[in-house]
């Protein structure tokens, strides 16, 4: 069995059907957690720097972002 990438666990969830790739969430994340992926949608590049502040969801005009949960360790 091959080792799977468990590090992909993310709580900032992007609805790629709604996302318009404007980059606002990447631009305004105060902790530089989000980066634009190869598919031109944001992902949590530095997940464990997230302060679960909600800025990404707030600035998303397309309402494509949800904070599905808070980080597991504090949940």
């Amino acid at each position: 069995m091959e080792r799977t990438d468990c590090g992909k666990y993310e709580w900032v969830v992007v609805d790629k059907d709604k996302c318009v790739s404007c980059g606002y969430c990447v631009e305004y994340c105060p902790r530089d957690v989000l980066r634009m992926g190869e598919d031109n949608h944001p992902y949590m590049a530095y997940r464990d720097d997230c302060w679960y502040c909600d800025a990404c969801r707030f600035v998303c005009k397309a309402e494509a972002i949800t904070l599905e949960t808070v980080p597991y360790l504090i949940r």
Partner: protein
């Protein structure tokens, strides 16, 4: 290495609450002033109030309180260890910044802040005075309003470009900064005669017990960089022994909402549902009371709201879930918690931090925000105006902006600094290392040590051991950090700052031979307040000749107002009689069996039995 070289008049290190106000006021003071703002994030969302704030926790406004009332409150909660002039200015200038905030956010009176029937800003009681000094705020958008004003005035904003070194010239004057962009890796060498430190508190200091490095009360970008830069530039720091021992919403580690809830009738109860202390103001005596509840088996403690009227509860949910830490509501829902239950908000004593806004620690400043280094100003959570809260960040940020602009207009160009090339080599070293230590593990190591060895009640042997750890981490770990990119490179600077702050906090704690400020400096070897320490600060600074950290006791500036210099509480007796334990007969110190083994085998461990693959029986 390509370095962008810039010249400026005023550099603002940290575009948070104090920094944005400083930049605005510097530009308003002198529109020709070249103001550069550096921040780890975008100034629209970075810092403690990126997602808004729900109150100005201390103000004096007409109809409610005077600047003298602010002095009275802060003289009591600092137990007399305060520059009263700073407290007076905090009260005096709170009304102008309220007006400024309404202007920057385009909000009408009565919208951003509540008004009473006389048209005054409506304050509530919270502090140990007979006057109401707490002003609620629906400040969801204030940071974006401030950022818009900074950009409109033409300040140069370098987002995601934190400073990593503060430069001084051969005369010890402020000369500029070195910085780099977290995404592009562009390097900046910015020369300026004045620098304003507004980089926040030491939020990443102790570890939260849930183990999540960023799961802290303060904004995680605030890692004591201003404290450390000021220290190395030769500035003095004070009250580093007065720890912020937060009572937080457990695990979430956001504020427990006490200041929003208490003025509306909520209060803290222990696990038995009993009110355990007379007030909910975040002074050391309240934290001492919480510690007592846990120590005597009546923890956890809770914030009780279930007795409040339904409209009040709904209003609290709107404010608490709509500003500052907006995922608070979701956190409750996931735990099936409901404010209609008395035990819905569990509180815990979480990570210790160093912060002037909520406690007393920081860079020594006077009422004009001057540090002891020429051209270096400080405001907000890194500048030691005790318990100034957000109000102080705005008030003293504004003063710092004006002062720095005026200073820069008179100052000549900065003199010769240390060779930046040497500094750059040191800064980028973690990028060039191979097979070094992961930055998150080094951060976790220093922060867990801080929690284990410094969390009050403070133990002298533990604190002395902490100094051993600081020395070891500095020698062995910091030089061995390896990072992969610029995002993580700044964390090497941050961890070094945290380590510096740990040493300052430890040495100051060992220097103050008494207990004071309740739990914040409850020292077991000196478990009582000592009148010889009244009105005395512990000043920490770097000996510029030896490079060593030094402490001295210094009397605060003369008092102009005669107010009580303590709160109503006592330290507990710590005579914990636990009996004698059993005593077995003495064993011999000499063990022939062990000695014979060593003589026969030396230090080798013989390989006696090997594992075998499969289920084959031993032959």
């Amino acid at each position: 290495m390509s370095v962008t070289r810039m010249e400026a008049d005023v550099i603002v290190l940290g575009g948070g609450s104090a920094g944005t106000f400083a930049a605005i006021k510097a530009k308003e003071t002198n529109p020709d002033c070249r103001v550069v703002v550096l921040d780890k994030g975008p100034i629209e969302t970075s810092g403690a109030i990126g997602r808004g704030m729900d109150a100005l926790n201390i103000v004096s406004v007409p109809g409610y309180g005077s600047p003298e009332d602010v002095v009275e409150a802060l003289t009591k909660v600092t137990e007399g260890v305060i520059d009263q002039e700073c407290a007076y200015v905090l009260g005096r200038d709170s009304l102008p910044i309220i007006k400024d905030l309404e202007k920057y956010t385009d909000r009408k009176p009565g919208d951003l802040f509540p008004l009473d029937s006389d048209g005054n800003y409506k304050c509530s009681f919270l502090h140990p005075t007979k006057k109401a000094l707490y002003l609620a705020m629906d400040g969801e958008d204030i940071k974006r309003g401030l950022a818009r004003e900074v950009r409109r005035l033409g300040c140069t904003v370098l987002d995601r470009t934190p400073a990593c070194r503060l430069l001084t010239d051969e005369n010890g004057k402020t000369a500029g900064v070195l910085a780099f962009n977290l995404r592009t890796g562009n390097y900046y060498e910015i020369k300026a005669p004045s620098v304003i430190l507004t980089a926040g508190c030491v939020g990443k200091f102790g570890m939260p017990r849930d183990g999540y490095l960023s799961g802290i009360y303060e904004f995680p970008g605030n890692t004591g960089d201003a404290f450390s830069m000021a220290y190395h530039a030769g500035a003095e720091l004070v009250n580093m022994e007065c720890f912020q021992t937060n009572l937080l919403m457990k695990d979430f580690n956001g504020p427990a909402c006490g200041y929003v809830v208490i003025p509306r009738g909520g209060y803290g109860v222990n696990a038995l549902g009993q009110k355990y202390w007379s007030h909910g103001y975040w002074s050391g005596d309240m934290f001492l009371a919480v510690w007592r509840e846990f120590t005597e088996g009546r923890g956890p403690v809770y914030l009780k709201l279930d007795h409040l009227p339904e409209p009040t509860l709904k209003g609290l949910e709107k404010i608490l879930w709509g500003t500052e830490r907006t995922v608070r509501g979701q956190f409750h829902k996931q735990r099936d918690e409901d404010y209609h239950c008395w035990d819905s908000v569990e509180q815990g004593m979480e990570e210790i931090t160093l912060c002037s806004g909520h406690s007393n620690s920081g860079i020594l400043v006077n009422k004009d925000t001057e540090t002891t280094v020429p051209g270096l100003f400080a405001a907000g959570d890194c500048a030691a105006v005790p318990q100034q809260y957000l109000t102080g960040a705005f008030v003293f940020g504004a003063i710092a902006g004006r002062m720095a602009a005026e200073y820069a207009a008179k100052a000549g160009k900065p003199g010769k600094t240390v060779d930046p090339e040497t500094a750059w080599k040191d800064i980028v070293k973690p990028l060039n290392a191979t097979n070094g230590l992961p930055i998150e593990q080094v951060e976790m190591k220093i922060r867990t040590k801080i929690s284990q060895y410094l969390t009050p009640p403070k133990s002298d042997p533990l604190m002395n051991k902490m100094l051993w750890w600081v020395d070891r981490i500095r020698r062995e770990d910091l030089p061995a950090i390896n990072v992969c990119d610029y995002h993580d490179l700044i964390r090497a600077t941050e961890v070094a700052s945290i380590t510096d702050c740990a040493e300052m906090a430890t040495r100051a704690s060992l220097f103050r031979t008494e207990s004071r400020w309740g739990l914040s400096h409850f020292r077991l070897a000196y478990p009582k307040r000592d009148p010889n320490w009244d009105r005395k600060q512990v000043v920490v600074k770097k000996n510029t000749s030896t490079g060593e950290m030094e402490c001295e006791a210094r009397t605060v500036p003369d008092f102009k107002w005669d107010y009580p210099e303590r709160l109503e509480y006592e330290y507990p007796q710590m005579n914990m009689d636990i009996g004698t334990g059993f005593v077995h007969p003495q064993n011999d110190f000499v063990d022939p069996w062990m000695e014979e083994k060593y003589d026969r085998e030396g230090m080798e461990i013989p390989k006696r039995l090997f594992p075998k693959k499969g289920n084959k029986k031993e032959a």
